[in-house]
């Protein structure tokens, strides 16, 4: 399809412009569905948590409340952005963008299906680690620029928490990198092909748990949401934000959740690979074979499952205290990853690869 577009634009545009245009179209093709996914993640969250809490959830705007995310969005767009007195105006306004930028830019290297990726870079994993680390700047700057004690406390907590869990997360990915022998996300997924038993989740189960738990902590979701614990520091770093500035933080949080969900599926659950691969009688069926075969729908399904876990945690878990979070990260998760990596390295050195 991209060739058709390139030929069409190539007829009347110079070549560099065609390349740029194609990239822009690809970016829009990723970002628009992503924003839609984010919007409906909020709807799904409210419906699912509503179900768990014996209530209905949004059901007024549109059929079964399906237009509720748009109603919320329009409301937030038309609200005034109140800038607190004696705050740093420039930093106050740039902070939401710093939070959202990395959350969206990370999607550049995510392979949605075989070859379906914006930038097929070889150091994709490093790029991801770098970008997810950048997200903390937006939050810290927001807390500092707000000129509020609650926001400041939250910024301190979130800074320490995200930096600590970054380490556990990085170590978990080191295990994946060792198992697959590549930093390219597409190659990592292809290394898991074969059958459902060649997914990395089986040999790297501990790392899988550590990665997802760190991911929950990284996105500041319950039970690790001390940065916005409403009974302690009201709303934390975004307590002074209103209107669109607040909704950009909101967007960044949910985009990050989708990112963690997609990454967990890619690294450990075979990404776009079908769980039925290897069962040729299913994948070779005339029409249903497309459903049972590999494809983007499996990635979406797996990521949605992790999103459901995010919502489930939020509905049923109380919040950890801040020092307990740090203890969990440093004293439990990081040692687990270190031991696992050591054992895995030993297995590789002895030429014994159970996952292949």
């Amino acid at each position: 399809m991209m060739e058709i577009l390139a030929n069409f634009f190539g007829a009347f545009l110079p070549e560099w412009m065609v390349t740029l245009l194609i990239i822009l179209i690809k970016v829009v093709a990723i970002v628009l569905p992503l924003i839609l996914l984010v919007a409906y993640a909020t709807y799904a969250e409210r419906k699912i948590i509503g179900f768990m809490q014996v209530r209905v959830g949004p059901n007024r705007v549109g059929f079964k409340g399906l237009l509720q995310p748009f109603a919320d969005m329009f409301k937030l767009i038309f609200k005034e952005i109140v800038i607190p007195a004696r705050s740093n105006r420039f930093l106050f306004l740039i902070a939401p963008l710093l939070a959202m930028g990395p959350a969206f830019a990370a999607w550049a290297v995510i392979p949605f299906s075989d070859g379906m990726v914006l930038a097929d870079v070889n150091a994709g994993l490093l790029f991801l680690l770098a970008l997810t680390s950048l997200g903390v700047y937006g939050v810290i700057i927001a807390g500092w620029a707000s000129n509020s004690k609650y926001a400041q406390l939250s910024a301190l907590r979130i800074g320490a928490q995200m930096v600590s869990y970054e380490i556990a997360m990085g170590f978990a990915l080191v295990g994946v990198l060792m198992a697959s022998g590549s930093l390219n996300l597409g190659d990592i997924v292809r290394a898991q092909s074969g059958s459902i038993f060649s997914w990395f989740v089986w040999p790297l189960f501990g790392l899988f748990l550590v990665y997802f738990i760190s991911g929950v902590a990284e996105t500041n979701r319950a039970p690790f949401d001390v940065a916005e614990g409403e009974s302690e520091i009201v709303a934390g770093f975004h307590v002074e934000y209103s209107g669109m500035a607040f909704s950009i933080f909101f967007l960044a949080e949910y985009a990050n959740m989708w990112l963690i969900a997609a990454l967990t599926s890619l690294m450990f659950l075979g990404g776009w690979l079908s769980p039925f691969q290897g069962l040729t009688f299913l994948t070779d069926m005339p029409v249903l074979g497309r459903v049972f075969g590999d494809g983007i729908h499996w990635l979406l399904l797996k990521a949605s499952f992790f999103m459901l876990l995010f919502f489930w945690f939020r509905a049923t878990f109380p919040r950890y205290r801040y020092d307990q979070i740090m203890r969990l990260g440093w004293k439990i998760l990081i040692p687990i990853t270190l031991v696992w990596i050591f054992a895995e390295g030993l297995a590789i050195a002895l030429g014994w690869k159970p996952w292949l």
Binding site: I49, M52, Q53, V54, R55, K149, L153, A222, P223, D225, V226, G229, E230, S231, E232, I233, V234, A315, T316, F317, P318, R319, Y320, R321, Y322, D323, Q324
Partner: protein, 390 residues
């Protein structure tokens, strides 16, 4: 008397105040309330924190003062009723009972046997409501919203029972001097039994999701311990005292209404931390459900519910004073009533457990606590600001 470990915290100056220099950058003054999602009502807590720990705390109340005690001095004895029940929103019946009992004692009224039973039933129903709200609040203070939604659902069923019994959901005004307004409606016991079963099934879920939750235990066990030595000096009563292992229960110690005829033991705990206090209240709630069953089984079915009152507009009560006490869900509740022979109370003083618990005790136990735990500590004492202020 109870000296704290203040090695790294501010020293005491000669006049007893703490040497806190806010300009040093070591301390931060943090206000919580009067509008704060973690505070259970309109009160403010002024915290001085050093890092994450509280070194000094002051409570500020008065945002909800309505002057009820003074208002009652200008109302006839009957007109006080819409006032007393508004002292405590989640459990208004206790105010009605204590006030009615005080008036009856001074006026020398004897109330019928059936009215005693119905009063006890209403008090226990109110206790169930109050505990259900507490459980939701305690989980909510730790960020676990689901418990609050579940308990609100079953509390709504209990409010339905209140509605068919009294005609009102929140402020019932059913217990009046001389008895209660009416007998139970037909089939009330059966519908109550269904409600009790639903509450028990939800409480089983609450037990699994809240009390057996690893994170909840981590937050609540060993946090906010009340020393048994404080009990008398701070005037701690009710579940807060029982969680410390002291079986203080006015229902047992000085039985009133029909409690002597009911079969129960005061619920006690051992550790006196947030978890034990929550657990004592959960078991006390189960006890209340049991008491409601006992009351419905043992009570007489027919009979008078009211004694003949004099004309309430010109009702004069002879000179006298009395103190009526009872065990509400938060602790000992008392009404001190003075009359001077006129048609109005000379003085009404309400002794609510919220005041003693949430001012002196809270200011003491919040010292050295983590700021994350402040809201949970306040909720774990089970206090209501409307009752603090009156």
């Amino acid at each position: 008397m109870f000296e704290l470990d203040r090695s790294q915290y501010p020293q005491k100056k000669a006049d007893g105040t703490l040497d806190i220099d806010l300009t040093s950058g070591k301390y931060l003054k943090l206000w919580q309330g009067p509008q704060h999602p973690g505070i259970t009502g309109n009160m403010a807590i002024e915290l001085t924190v050093c890092g994450d720990e509280v070194v000094d705390a002051t409570t500020h109340v008065g945002y909800l003062h309505r002057g009820f005690e003074k208002l009652m001095e200008r109302r006839t004895f009957m007109q006080c009723f819409p006032i007393v029940c508004r002292i405590c929103v989640p459990e208004p019946d206790f105010n009605e009972y204590c006030y009615a009992a005080a008036v009856e004692e001074l006026a020398g009224l004897e109330i019928p046997e059936l009215a005693h039973w119905i009063r006890t039933l209403i008090l226990e129903m109110g206790r169930v409501n109050s505990y259900l709200m507490y459980l939701g609040g305690q989980a909510g203070a730790f960020g676990q919203g689901v418990i609050g939604q579940w308990t609100t659902y079953v509390r709504d069923l209990m409010l339905d029972r209140f509605e068919e019994l009294t005609g009102a959901r929140i402020y019932h005004m059913f217990i009046i001097p001389g008895g209660v307004r009416d007998n139970l409606p037909d089939g009330f016991a059966g519908r109550m039994e269904e409600t009790l079963r639903e509450i028990e099934s939800v409480l089983a879920d609450v037990d699994r999701v809240m009390f057996h939750n690893a994170v909840f235990k981590k937050r609540a066990v060993g946090v906010g311990v009340i020393d048994t030595a404080w009990l008398d000096s701070y005037g701690i009563t009710g579940p807060n005292a029982r969680a410390a292992g002291v079986a203080k229960d006015v229902r047992k110690d000085q039985p009133y209404l029909v409690y002597p005829e009911l079969d129960f033991e005061a619920v006690t705990g051992k550790d006196s931390d947030i978890y034990t206090r929550a657990d004592v209240r959960r078991r006390d709630l189960l006890l209340s459900l049991d008491l409601i069953r006992q009351i419905l089984a043992k009570m007489p079915k027919t009979g008078a519910v009211m004694t003949k009152l004099p004309n309430v507009l010109h009702w004069k009560i002879p000179r006298g004073e009395t103190y009526v006490r009872g065990e509400c869900s938060r602790g000992e509740y008392g009404y001190y009533l003075v009359t001077d022979g006129s048609g109005y109370p000379r003085r009404v003083n309400v002794r609510g457990p919220s005041y003693t618990h949430s001012i002196a005790l809270f200011e003491r136990m919040v010292i050295n606590a983590n700021i994350s735990d402040v809201a949970a500590l306040l909720v774990s004492l089970h206090t209501y600001p409307p009752e603090i202020e009156r």
